[in-house]
Symmetry: C2
Subunit: 502 residues, 2 copies
């Protein structure tokens, strides 16, 4: 077989796996939006069976032969050409997966599904003892997986590598250490209690359908097209790309706080615009994927934080907001901007503001790193959580729902995932900073309801490249420099000292 | 490998294929209920890719070896034991599929999806010329498939065999000939214009949500549980079993005729009760399937025709109907029973009454038989349809929507499928007749809102056996005699001469 044939065979396999992925994405979407109560048990088995089929295809030894054939050829001479990128990514996944036996891989999927189901039931009852055995089983499996995957410095790196292959626990520590110190200092300099005086927005109940209608209009304004998507309700907002022309998002709504649903939608619109902007002519090949978890998150955060919490955006949206929700009419533009930028260290991570967001992440990073590195046990997580929450946020959660059971990530088996959020925030600040340099006064554009320049710029500079560049290359190509958390810190200091500075 | 190991391997493969089926069923369900407009093109490709994976697994040559090993063993000594049934069905599908090359099999799936999409667009515009080339391509492929599958008497038998392995065109002809003659005679003896004098039910518009609410309550009364299902809207009603605890149905609603949506739901509830009653401890094995298309249809028709159009049922439901739809208050019980049993030879098949239903089927059977046997060409279908419609129903459709484009079956690639409807109706009459003999006065039970005896009887005698017995065995075991259309004819004569006899 010649190299071109080998490459074609690899891509044909890749497309087949992408169809299995697409089927699983639909099954997950349905599980979170539509499934009847008694359908869950079968759906868990179904997803495990599909994951098994997917795994067997991804680790077919024939892939190793095909990869070698292509890698020994001139097809991959152009480092950032389509073939090289596709081959690089197939190699990365293949090498990673073949280190983990099929049994463990599928056991982890099943244990994650079971723990997530247990979390769904235990969470409303604040019932950590119910969740704990599931978490212990899962943590043991993830530790075993880390050992099998291998690492240079510490087991945690092996898991982090699934989401951010260029990072290690040490590089994350080096980023989060100074960043969290700067954020703690910023928190001390702002009077975030000031915005709590505005009670009007959260004492009037607003119907969910009214909120959905408003959020949908905002999504349209930002460029999300309902002809190629849907917006549904789920208990945790997410975006999912089922295929070209079908990129769906969900949100959840709080009758007494319309920020939750609205910013949930805007966040997911950011993800959806990224997926819609990928090079879909290569659908099913690795290049038609997001560059990484962190770059994906940067795209949602640009829209959620840098666009939808800006002065300009609310200049544009204020009349619509007042028309849709008359109980807000007494608020000034300044009130609204303060309200939607309220700083609250006691909030949950998913509702957190820009200032405290990364303090939530450093807490989770330190705990999961210690857990996987066998420095900490599952039974010690609740107490350790409270201690770190007090250290970074000055807040001690009073129940497990606000503490160790706050996020679905760990019960779902996602360890090593959280750092991607901070990387994403840092990248978002850098991308946005660069966009302003190239596109002029974005705030002014947002005031006029113009989002197409920013959207077009993101599509051109980031989305359309798909997985061509890894994050370190991408940030350098787009902004001219490597990862730099100072851009984020300066943005936050300027914005929040202006809003709430003491 | 010993026979037991071979059998276990076969069942493990069967379960894997069942998971692919389940994923495809969800994709079809979503395509018909939720998909955004621009998602269709990808979904068609997705379903074709999944069908290809499924086909490759079903025709893996290793299955032939495994089957031989089990078939040569004592494992299948008990003809109606689980092992024998599972092996019989794997053998049937394997032998059938391996005669058709993978390329043709997937081409047919794709051509069917494309023709169905063309039909969706062409139908509202009555645009047969747009659909015709798709149909010609598909018919050519189905003729080729029939030749490859092989047959004793005529090509049509090869396609019919997919749905009703025990039947041939001749056996269907022998059933439909006398049945249709009896129905035409019955039509002549009843004054079906009489019920058309009732205009009230169809001049008042009734909102779709109100109809959905009512139909859902009826579904509950009959025993359909929303904890393990859903009722959605789609342009063609269907039922789909995604797995244990998740059997969904859909219906469509007509604002000026609430019979459409209501009977659509009741029909699909019949299918759903069957699927819910299958031996789910064997989920993923062939035995946990409906016995055949015809037996499946018998279950929906028992509820739609024999239960929901009975006197007793409307004794029970009348107060609820009047409360939900006050514009019907002027109607007497007799009026309602006549109205829901209105006989109208000019209606579409999906809305047809019990008397004319099988006259629709004989028309389609004769046309598709001639088409597959190369006696008739696609271009000749419209004229032939009108002629046969006049012959059997005394009605000449004035447009293609009421004629050759009336059903989605042919554009979807379903040839040889229609006879299952008549077989189902005949079986339904026989099953219901037997149920009355064993359970006493069912009409009296329905008057009291009691449906559990009939439901339990169907579950015990038919559903729980799954695919154990083929239709000819099943009808004999349950009723003590073979297929007998006279039971249906007598039931119809008694009922309709009473309602509308001249």
């Amino acid at each position: 077989m010649n190299a071109l044939q080998a490459y074609k065979d690899l891509m044909s396999r890749s497309r087949e796996i992408a169809h299995l992925d697409s089927a699983m994405e639909l099954a997950y979407w349905d599980q979170r939006t539509n499934i009847p109560a008694r359908g869950h048990a079968h759906r868990v088995r179904h997803l495990a069976a599909m994951a098994k089929m997917r795994y067997r295809r991804l680790t077919d030894p024939r892939i190793g032969d095909l990869l070698s054939t292509v890698e020994d050829s001139s097809l991959i001479d152009d480092r950032f050409g389509v073939v090289s990128v596709n081959v690089r990514e197939v190699r990365r996944v293949y090498d990673r997966l073949k280190r983990v036996p099929a049994k463990l891989a599928t056991d982890i999927v099943r244990a994650g599904a079971e723990a997530e189901a247990a979390w769904e039931k235990a969470c409303p009852k604040n019932d950590w003892p119910r969740l704990r055995p599931f978490m212990e089983r899962l943590a043991a499996m993830k530790r075993e997986e880390a050992e099998l995957l291998g690492y240079e410095n510490e087991p945690y790196d092996a898991l982090l590598g699934e989401y951010e292959p260029e990072e290690t626990a040490r590089s994350i520590e080096a980023l989060l250490g100074p960043l969290s110190a700067a954020l703690v200092r910023l928190l001390e300099r702002i009077d975030y209690g000031r915005s709590n005086r505005m009670t009007a927005p959260t004492t009037t109940r607003v119907s969910v359908p009214d909120q959905e209608h408003f959020a949908t209009e905002v999504a349209r304004k930002l460029g999300y097209r309902l002809e190629s998507g849907r917006i549904d309700i789920s208990s945790h907002p997410f975006a999912t790309g089922l295929g070209p022309g079908d990129v769906r998002i969900t949100s959840r709504y709080n009758e007494t706080d319309l920020r939750e649903g609205l910013f949930g939608v805007v966040h997911e619109v950011g993800h959806a615009l990224y997926v819609q902007g990928l090079p879909t002519e290569h659908w099913g090949e690795p290049i038609c994927h997001v560059a990484s978890l962190s770059i994906d998150e940067s795209q949602s955060l640009i829209w959620e934080f840098f666009v939808a919490r800006s002065n300009g955006f609310w200049n544009h949206l204020l009349p619509d907001l007042m028309a849709a929700f008359p109980h807000l009419k007494a608020l000034s533009h300044e009130d609204v901007v303060r309200w939607i930028n309220q700083v609250n260290p006691a909030s949950l991570r998913v509702n957190a503001d820009e200032v405290t967001y990364n303090l939530h992440i450093v807490l989770r990073f330190e705990l999961e790193r210690d857990l996987i590195n066998r420095v900490l046990e599952v039974k010690d997580l609740p107490a350790a959580w409270i201690e770190k929450s007090h250290k970074y946020l000055g807040h001690r959660p009073t129940d497990h729902r606000g503490g160790v059971m706050q996020d679905v990530h760990w019960p779902s088996g996602l360890f090593g995932y959280f750092p991607g959020y901070t990387l994403g925030h840092v990248y978002a600040a850098q991308f946005f900073h660069r966009a302003k340099e190239e596109l002029g006064d974005l705030d002014e554009q947002f005031s006029r309801g113009e989002f197409s320049h920013l959207r077009g710029w993101l599509r051109h500079r980031i989305h359309s490249a798909g997985a061509t560049f890894r994050p370190h290359d991408l940030i350098r190509r787009v902004t001219g420099e490597g990862i730099n958390p100072l851009i984020l810190v300066e943005y936050l200091e300027t914005k929040y000292e202006g809003l709430y500075g003491v």
